[in-house]
């Protein structure tokens, strides 16, 4: 099952500006700024870094998680670095304007360029690269593999 918060203060949230990559999907322009937190590999040896911004649905995170589980089973460990905190609402098709905000449809994580989405450890680099490439294929953003930063 996709992830979602256990308890929330409010069922619906304001939308913000991020909606999608393509101009057609954008509402008020793409998500602004870069990820200034969660932008380096912290737990594993290799990470998958998003190069674009937008909403990452809980289903996408779950599909990436399943891919990693199947790949690393019994060998390495993986880490999820994003969580879908944001409820996204929608109104049914062929509904007249008005009558208030729609009902929560799905949960999403707000991702800014530079955010590390997944991390992996305990695997050699070729295997980690192969695993994260499979995960990247399922992501709605362009991604790249990153390693740990040199410690100073």
């Amino acid at each position: 099952m996709p992830q979602m918060p256990k308890r929330v203060k409010f069922r619906k949230s304001q939308r913000g500006v991020a909606r999608g990559r393509s101009t057609k999907e954008r509402y008020n322009g793409p998500i602004r700024g870069f990820s200034h937190r969660g932008n380096y590999v912290a737990y594993g040896d290799y990470g998958l870094q998003s190069l674009e911004g937008g909403w990452l649905s809980a289903e996408c995170i779950e599909s990436g998680r399943i891919t990693m589980t199947r790949f690393v089973s019994g060998e390495g460990r993986y880490y999820l670095r994003v969580f879908p905190h944001k409820p996204v609402t929608s109104i049914p098709a062929e509904t007249r304007m008005g009558k208030g905000k729609g009902e929560p449809e799905y949960w999403a994580a707000v991702v800014r360029p530079g955010q590390i989405l997944f991390e992996i450890s305990g695997l050699p680099e070729p295997a980690a690269r192969d695993c994260l490439a499979r995960v990247a294929y399922k992501m709605p953003f362009k991604c790249r593999l990153v390693t740990r930063r040199p410690s100073v």
């Binding site: 099952m1 992830q3 979602m4 918060p5 256990k6 308890r7 929330v8 203060k9 409010f10 069922r11 870069f34 990820s35 200034h36 932008n39 380096y40 870094q49 190069l51 998680r65 089973s73 019994g74 060998e75 390495g76 460990r77 999820l80 409820p87 009902e103 929560p104 360029p113 530079g114 450890s121 305990g122 990153v146 740990r148 930063r149 040199p150 410690s151 100073v152």
Partner: protein
């Protein structure tokens, strides 16, 4: 042991983000030198040389050549761009041989366990905070995990450290261990049907209000 590398620095006059951007376009990295109760000096160093010193030579202590003067400095802080590709700014702290410095040193695992017993390698600590002389900063703390077994983790107290190096983490902290897969918490899965979702936190009504 981290090698001491020589780096050419030039003083810079402008301050602020615009001046820093101009410097970076010229292939320089803005930096500052401070410490030892002397005046702070704003400098710029070659991005290429600095990158080589950090990534290739794993240098921690540098000999900074500034206006014909040599200063021994420690790389105290390094700022990266959001993608972690380029270095934006460096802090150099003046050090002398008699000082004790606190730095983080990476942990390197050597070999593979003989028998895993169905366990998965788990490394909670990838870097260790150590206190030592600036000339004796180890390049890495190397751990041989050939004899690592399930249920017998390697703690800080079990490590063989170079002379004069003190680890600041608690001695009982686990550095590396073999863990059974599936012990880690599985992401929360809440069955959802249309109309149901997470519990909404509501304000509790005061007992007094109810009585009234």
């Amino acid at each position: 042991m981290a090698t001491s590398v020589s780096l050419q620095a030039q003083p810079r006059t402008g301050s602020g983000s615009r001046a820093a951007v101009k410097l970076r376009k010229q292939g320089l990295v803005p930096a500052i030198v401070y410490g030892h109760k002397e005046a702070n000096i704003s400098v710029a160093v070659s991005a290429e040389e600095l990158d080589r010193a950090i990534r290739v030579l794993h240098a921690r202590v540098l000999d900074l050549q500034l206006d014909g003067k040599k200063e021994t400095v420690l790389i105290r802080e390094l700022q990266w761009d959001p993608f972690g590709r380029t270095m934006l700014h460096v802090d150099f702290a003046r050090v002398s041989e008699s000082d004790r410095v606190r730095v983080s040193v990476p942990v390197e695992l050597r070999n593979v366990p003989k028998t895993t017993g169905g366990g998965v390698l788990d490394q909670p600590l990838h870097t260790l905070h150590v206190e030592c002389s600036p000339t004796k900063i180890p390049e890495a703390i190397r751990i041989d995990i050939t004899n690592l077994t399930l249920g017998a983790p390697i703690h800080i107290r079990d490590l063989t450290l170079p002379e004069g190096v003190k680890v600041l983490e608690p001695p009982e902290a686990v550095v590396v261990q073999l863990k059974l897969p599936g012990v880690e918490p599985v992401p929360i899965a809440i069955p959802t049907e249309p109309g149901t979702g997470p519990e909404v936190i509501k304000k509790e009504k005061k007992a007094e209000d109810e009585e009234e």
